[in-house]
C-alpha cells in the first residue's frame, strides 16, 4: 500500500488561487466588469474564493455564481439522464460582461465547450475566459485555459481528485490510479 500522492496541499491551493486572482486583475486592468461562473460541483466554491480574493486586491465586489452544463453535454446519450445541478446567474447577468468560467480540473475540454454554449444561451458576454485549478492535459477540443493553478502532466487513465473544504472537509489535490 503506497501513500496517495498529494499534488497540491491547502497552502498550495490558496497560493494558486491568489495568483490567479492577481492575473485576472492584471490582464483585465481591474475587475470592474468581471462575472465569475463556477461549474458544479467544485468550480462553484472555487469561483467564490477567487471572487473574495479579487475583492481583497481590487476593492470591487465581483459577482460569482454557478452554471450547470448537464443539458449541454455532448455525452448525454452515453449515460442515463443525470440529476441537474444548480444554476445561479448573478443578477447582473452576462450581457457585455467579462465572464470567467471556473472549474477544478481541465481535461478533455468538453465540459468547457458545453459551458460556453450554456453561457451563450444566457446572453452575449463581452468575452469568456477560463480559470482552472488543475490543467491535466489530454485535450480533445481546441480549448485552452487563461488562468491555470497548476499544470499537471498525467497519464490518460490516471484520476485527479480535487478536495475542497466547503464540500470535502479539507483542501487537497491528489492523484489516483483509476479514473472514477
Amino acid at each position: 500500500m503506497t501513500a496517495v500522492p498529494v499534488v497540491l496541499d491547502a497552502s498550495d491551493i490558496s497560493r494558486a488561487l491568489t495568483r490567479i486572482a492577481h492575473e485576472i486583475v492584471e490582464r483585465n486592468k481591474g475587475c470592474a466588469n468581471v462575472v465569475l461562473l463556477g461549474i458544479p460541483t467544485r468550480g462553484v466554491p472555487l469561483a467564490k474564493r477567487i471572487a473574495q480574493r479579487l475583492q481583497d486586491i481590487d476593492g470591487t465586489q465581483v459577482p460569482s455564481g454557478s452554471i450547470d452544463i448537464t443539458m449541454y453535454r455532448d455525452d448525454l446519450r452515453l449515460k442515463p439522464a443525470r440529476a441537474l445541478s444548480i444554476t445561479e446567474v448573478p443578477v447582473e447577468g452576462v450581457d457585455d460582461k467579462l465572464v470567467i468560467l471556473v472549474d477544478d480540473v481541465l481535461f478533455s475540454g468538453r465540459t468547457i465547450r458545453a459551458a460556453m454554449d450554456a453561457v451563450s444561451d444566457l446572453g452575449r458576454p463581452q468575452a469568456i475566459q477560463l480559470a482552472t485549478l488543475v490543467d491535466r492535459g489530454h485535450r480533445e477540443l481546441p480549448i485552452r485555459a487563461d488562468y491555470v493553478g497548476k499544470n499537471l502532466p498525467t497519464a490518460f487513465d490516471e484520476a485527479v481528485h480535487v478536495h475542497l473544504s466547503e464540500l470535502d472537509g479539507e483542501d487537497s489535490v491528489v492523484l489516483g490510479r483509476d479514473r472514477s
Binding site: L76, L78, P80, A81, A83, L84, D121
Partner: protein, 325 residues
C-alpha cells in the same frame, strides 16, 4: 426495457422528487432570453391526442420544443383514426416514422398502458390523460405548485429533497370521472401529504377503499383544515345525467364561492386543473383572487413536462424506472 410514465401509482417518493427537483432547475429556462436547450436535439416526440385538449397538448409541445426535440402533433379528428384505424395501426405507423416518445391522450382508460406494453413500437409512452384513469403530469405539476407555494408549511425531511410532508389537501368535485383526482391522491400521498376527497355521494367512486385518502361529503367542514383546495371540473361530457339534480344545486353545495373561500386558512391556495366552468365548481371572483394559483399551475406544467421528457429521453437509458411493469 423502455421506461414509461403511465400512472403516479408507479412512482416512488424518490422518483417523484427527482422529477420535481429537475423541474425546479428547468423552470429557469422560461426566464432565459433564449428559451431553449439542445438536450433532445434529433429526438422526435409525437403528441397523439384522441381527445380534445388545449393546455396539455400545447404544454407538452412547448416542453419538447424548449428541449429542442422535434414535435409531431397527431390529432385524431380529421385523421386516419376517424376513418377507422385501430390504435395498433396508428402505433405501427408512428414506430415506422421513428417516434422516440409518444404522449397519448385517449378517452379509454388503459389505452396508454396498451400502447406501452403491446410490443407495437419501441418508444417511451407518456400518459397525458386516459379516460377516468390517470393524468400523471397534471398531478406532478400540482405537487410542484404546492411545494413552491406552501414551502413554509411543509415539514422538511431529515435528509433528501423536500416533499409535501405535513400538508393537507382537499380534492373537491367530480371525483368519479376525474383522472386528475386519482393521479393526485396517489402522488400527494407518496409525497407525504394528507388528502381528503370531497364530492356528492353520486360522484364519489364506489370502490375507493384502496385509495390512501379520507372521504367527506361536506365541503364546509373540510375547508378550514386544509392548506390547499383543488377544485375539479364537472365533466359534463362523461355524464349521462342523474348525478346531481341541477347545476345550481351542485354549485350551492360543492362550488367554491367567496363565502366558502373565506373559510380557508389565510395561507391556503386554490387550484384548478382547467378548463374551468366558472360559476359552476368555482366562482369567478375566487378563480381570479390572490389565493388562486391556477395560472402558476399552467406555467409549472411546462417545466414539469420538460423534466419528464428529459428524464425519459435524455440519456441512453431512462432515469425514470417503472416500479411495477
Amino acid at each position: 426495457m423502455k421506461a414509461h410514465l403511465l400512472s403516479t401509482a408507479d412512482l416512488d417518493r424518490e422518483g417523484a422528487l427527482q422529477i420535481l427537483d429537475t423541474a425546479q432547475e428547468l423552470a429557469r429556462v422560461a426566464d432565459m432570453p433564449i428559451k431553449k436547450m439542445p438536450t433532445l436535439r434529433g429526438r422526435t416526440v409525437v403528441n397523439l391526442f384522441f381527445e380534445d385538449s388545449t393546455r396539455t397538448r400545447i404544454s407538452f409541445e412547448a416542453a419538447a420544443k424548449r428541449l429542442s426535440a422535434d414535435v409531431i402533433n397527431f390529432a385524431a379528428k380529421g385523421s386516419s383514426v376517424s376513418k377507422g384505424e385501430s390504435l395498433k395501426d396508428t402505433a405501427l405507423t408512428l414506430a415506422a416514422m421513428g417516434a422516440d416518445a409518444v404522449v397519448i391522450r385517449h378517452s379509454m382508460s388503459g389505452a396508454p398502458h396498451q400502447l406501452a406494453h403491446a410490443d407495437w413500437m419501441d418508444a417511451h409512452v407518456i400518459n397525458a390523460g386516459d379516460g377516468t384513469h390517470e393524468h400523471p403530469t397534471q398531478a406532478l405539476l400540482d405537487a410542484f405548485t404546492l411545494r413552491n407555494h406552501l414551502a413554509d408549511h411543509i415539514s422538511a425531511p431529515k435528509q433528501g429533497s423536500v416533499g409535501l410532508d405535513g400538508l393537507h389537501v382537499a380534492i373537491v368535485g367530480d371525483v368519479l370521472h376525474s383522472r386528475v383526482a386519482r393521479s393526485n391522491v396517489h402522488l400527494l400521498n407518496t409525497l407525504g401529504a394528507k388528502v381528503t376527497v370531497v364530492a356528492p355521494p353520486t360522484l364519489m367512486p364506489l370502490h375507493n377503499d384502496g385509495w390512501p385518502c379520507e372521504v367527506s361529503y361536506d365541503l364546509d367542514t373540510v375547508l378550514p383544515q386544509v392548506d390547499a383546495v383543488m377544485m375539479l371540473r364537472v365533466q359534463r361530457e362523461r355524464m349521462e345525467g342523474g348525478f346531481f339534480p341541477s347545476e345550481r344545486e351542485y354549485s350551492q353545495r360543492y362550488g367554491l364561492d367567496e363565502r366558502r373561500a373565506a373559510l380557508l386558512p389565510d395561507h391556503a391556495v386554490v387550484m384548478h386543473p382547467g378548463p374551468m366552468n366558472r360559476g359552476l365548481e368555482i366562482a369567478s371572483r375566487v378563480a381570479d383572487s390572490d389565493r388562486s394559483v391556477i395560472i402558476d399551475q399552467v406555467r409549472n406544467g411546462v417545466s414539469v413536462r420538460m423534466a419528464v421528457l428529459y428524464l425519459l429521453l435524455g440519456g441512453n437509458e431512462s432515469a425514470l424506472s417503472e416500479v411495477n411493469a
